[in-house]
Amino acid sequence: MPDSTQTAPAADEVIDLTGVSKRREKGDQIFELRIPRFRIQRGEFIAIVGESGCGKSTLLDMLGLLLTPTSCDRFRYAVRHPQPAVDIDRMDARQLAAIRRRDMGYVLQSGGLLPFLKVRDNIRLPRRINGLAPDSPSVNRICDRLGITGQLPKLPAFLSGGQRQRVAIARALAHEPPLVLADEPTAAVDKLTAREIRDTFKELTSQMGVTVIVVTHDLDLMLPVSDRAFTFALEKPTGSHTLSTCIEQAIR
């Protein structure tokens, strides 16, 4: 593994977080998340595993550019392949929003679908927002593969939990982003369905060469498909101070 402290990133490194920390204070309780080193290669399938309250959602929000770190040595993205890497900490809200819009797809815990739009329109939404044609062959293929073509004219409320998660995956991939973030994508479904969804998700993303970061508490479910995993080490230096450090976990 190359020395990651060097300034020049590896050729296909899409995310480089070095010495990032996020501090949150709630009353007299302080929670601090430290990420000494978090580097992701293009096309990797990464699992972030941890109990609730360890900071995995905070990390995901930082990766999704919704939260800004309290401090960082390096926060660099190179998701769009031919373009040079950008330092996120130097960008303003509009530029961040543009990256989110264009280069990222999200799969939320309970789908995060807009209840007032039909399934078809929910899937089209990221394409519309990006000014792309609402339909494309790849979208149709994704829907076929996910088995939701028959659900397209329905409203999300009429779908089962599993179907909703599949639609959420379709929406996350619809505008063909290079990076997909998934937050507990299978938490709301039964084990069997979860496995099906996981496999389809993995298959689609690796076919499309998409980098995937999945936050999960279910290590057993995600480990088989993950290239690498990260987890958190919790410390309590004082009674009111919780320190969580993100570390890579060896999985093979």
């Binding site: 919704l66 809200a93 990256i99 329109d121 409203l155």
Partner: protein
């Protein structure tokens, strides 16, 4: 974005409808309140302030005003309209609808009107011309007439024990609304009213074929000289003051008498000058004197005091002042000087009046124009000048009867009919008037100006003040209520929209996650707020329109044309709409700003 926002609203149409209804529920009563303010208060205000009755200035006493006075009043910029009135007693007539016959007859009062009469014009009727009339609502009800009907008007008078009537037809051109007058009255042009008054005074009106007398002028005298060959007994002298109207009796010395009379009586005669200090007396007083001295062979010489005029000779521009002397024709008998060339035949009018004049003052006997000085209206009479020795300079001498009539002309207007030599009585003046100020503010000034001229008047000044004050308080109260109402509605509007944005937190966060930011994201709740508020406003408007129609329908009997109890001007309605939309957007923005500050991640995971 628009599609997204609308799709969301449509998806939750029940909630959307609820929100709209909630906002509508606070807007609609406000609209109604405003509508009532505009309708009711403006109507009342209009009625009270604009009612011509409140601009009326009514005389309290019946001082007689000549025609010129009315002309000068009409030219006053503070006066909108003034018309003379005849005596109230002379304005009462009987009328009936021609087609229904005299069974429907009613006693009605005539009210004079004329061009620009606000009481008629501002109460929905045209000003009638001669041969037409306008009825008050009460009069129309009483005789059962409608506009377009023909009425018979009958004026009546008593002559001795005989009742005489004169009738004419009048076409009803309009009926004034109830507020104009609470009496049964008929508006007619002033000339008709004058005719009725003249008829009641016993005169004939040729234009209407009403029989009666001509208004012939009669002589008035300030005194008489009773001239006898021997002095009258003292007892008789004192009797001459009883029941004759003359209050003073004197036997002046010859020079003083000649000075007073203007001519000389032979010194052999013994003379008594009976005179009156106040009003001049008519023929009847002279007759009374004659009765007292019957059998004493007395000559009675009527006398007028200080009659002045100017004469203008034919073909001469200059007019010169002259003293006009009564030279009794009867004086011939006792040899007065100069000797009168006429006799005092009663009822024998001449087409011109003979007058003696000093020979130096006219080259030849000729005609001239005499203008009497002591009249309000100039009275011009043609005279035939007879040069005569013994007439003092700057003096003309006329028959006693003529002098007496000229004396009458100094007390009231006369006209001289050149076709037959009659002096006719002209209208003396008018007993009253109807006057309307141009604006409410002018009323009090007119009142003061009248009172300074000694004419007590009645105005609605007190009532006007009350109305103005009441208007002010009503407006204040309205605004107090409206402020509370507006405050409440706005709070409710803001709260409703704020809550709806708050409810959309999750959807908004998802959109944010999908890369929408800033203005684009803002548009979502803005559009929704605007749509909800707009819909609520339209709904409220519909509600208002329906309620307004109901209210106006319920009160239609109390409304005049063009009035409504509940009404909103379009500009106010648009303003209200704009304010509501603005507030909606403000509320949505306020909610959004707060949302933007909370952690989006929290919103996504709050379930």
């Amino acid at each position: 974005m628009l599609r997204l926002a609308l799709a969301d609203l449509w998806h939750e149409w029940i909630l959307t409808a609820c929100l709209m209804l909630a906002i509508c529920a606070v807007i609609a009563p406000l609209l109604l309140l405003f509508g009532l303010k505009y309708g009711t208060i403006e109507t009342l205000r209009h009625r009270l302030i604009q009612d011509p009755k409140n601009r009326e200035v009514r005389p309290l006493s019946s001082v007689s005003h000549p025609k010129e006075w009315f002309e000068s009043m009409q030219s006053d910029p503070k006066v909108a309209f003034v018309t003379p009135m005849t005596r109230q007693i002379a304005a009462s007539v009987t009328m009936w609808v021609k087609d229904s016959g005299p069974d429907s007859k009613q006693d009605l009062d005539l009210i004079p009107t004329g061009e620009g009469d606000p009481l008629v014009l501002e109460n929905g009727a045209p000003v009638p011309s001669f041969g037409e009339c306008v009825l008050t609502e009460f009069a129309a009800e009483a005789i059962g007439a409608a506009a377009g009907d023909t009425l018979i008007m009958e004026a009546s008078r008593m002559r001795g024990s005989r009742r005489e009537t004169g009738t004419t037809e009048l076409k009803v051109t309009g009926i004034v609304s109830r507020r104009a007058s609470a009496i049964k009255a008929v508006f007619v042009p002033l000339p008709l009213l004058e005719d009725v008054e003249s008829f009641k005074d016993g005169l004939g009106i040729p234009a209407l074929n009403w029989p009666g007398d001509k208004p012939l002028a009669y002589p008035l005298f300030d005194g008489v000289v009773v001239s006898t060959a021997t002095p009258l007994p003292t007892l008789l002298q004192s009797r001459l003051r009883a029941n004759t109207g003359f209050t003073r009796i004197a036997s002046p010395a010859a020079p003083a008498l000649a000075n007073a009379l203007g001519y000389t009586i032979p010194e052999t005669q013994s003379n008594l000058l009976l005179s009156t200090e106040l009003r001049p007396l008519a023929d009847s007083s002279i007759t009374a004197v004659e009765t007292q001295i019957r059998g004493y062979g007395a000559t009675i010489l009527p006398w007028v005091r200080d009659l002045q005029g100017t004469i203008q000779l034919q073909g001469n521009e200059d007019s010169k002042p002259v003293r006009i002397v009564s030279l009794p024709g009867d004086g011939k008998r006792i040899g007065i000087l100069p000797e009168p060339p006429w006799s005092e035949a009663v009822d024998e009018p001449e087409t011109s009046i003979s007058a003696l004049i000093h020979p130096d003052q006219t080259q030849n006997a000729g005609t001239a124009q005499l203008t009497l000085s002591q009249t309000d209206q100039p009275l011009i009479v043609p005279i035939r000048l007879i040069p005569s020795v013994g007439v003092p300079a700057d003096t003309i001498m006329v028959p006693s009867r003529t002098a007496g009539i000229l004396r009458l002309a100094t007390t009231r207007p006369l006209a001289y009919d050149t076709s037959n030599g009659h002096f006719l009585l002209s209208r003396r003046g008018y007993a009253g008037f109807r006057l309307y100020a141009r604006a409410l503010e002018d009323v009090d000034e007119l009142r003061r100006s009248f009172e300074s001229k000694g004419i007590p008047v009645h105005t609605e000044a007190q009532r006007i003040q009350t109305v103005i004050e009441m208007d002010r308080y009503l407006t204040l109260i309205f605004w107090l209520i409206a402020t509370v109402g507006i405050g409440g509605s706005m709070a409710s509007l803001v709260a409703s929209l704020y809550a709806s944005v708050e409810r959309k937190k999750r959807e908004l966060s998802v959109l944010r996650l999908l890369g929408l930011s800033g203005p684009k994201l803002f548009r979502f709740p803005l559009i929704q707020g605007a749509v909800i508020a707009g819909g609520a406003y339209l709904l409220a408007w519909g509600f208002f329109a329906a309620m307004a129609a109901v209210i106006n329908h319920l009160f239609r009997n109390h409304l005049q044309t063009g009035e409504s109890f509940c009404y909103l001007p379009v500009s106010t309605a648009l303003l209200a709409g704009a304010i509501i939309l603005g507030l909606a957007c403000l509320a949505a923005t306020a909610a959004l700003v707060r949302l933007a500050r909370i952690d989006p991640a929290e919103a996504l995971r709050d379930e």
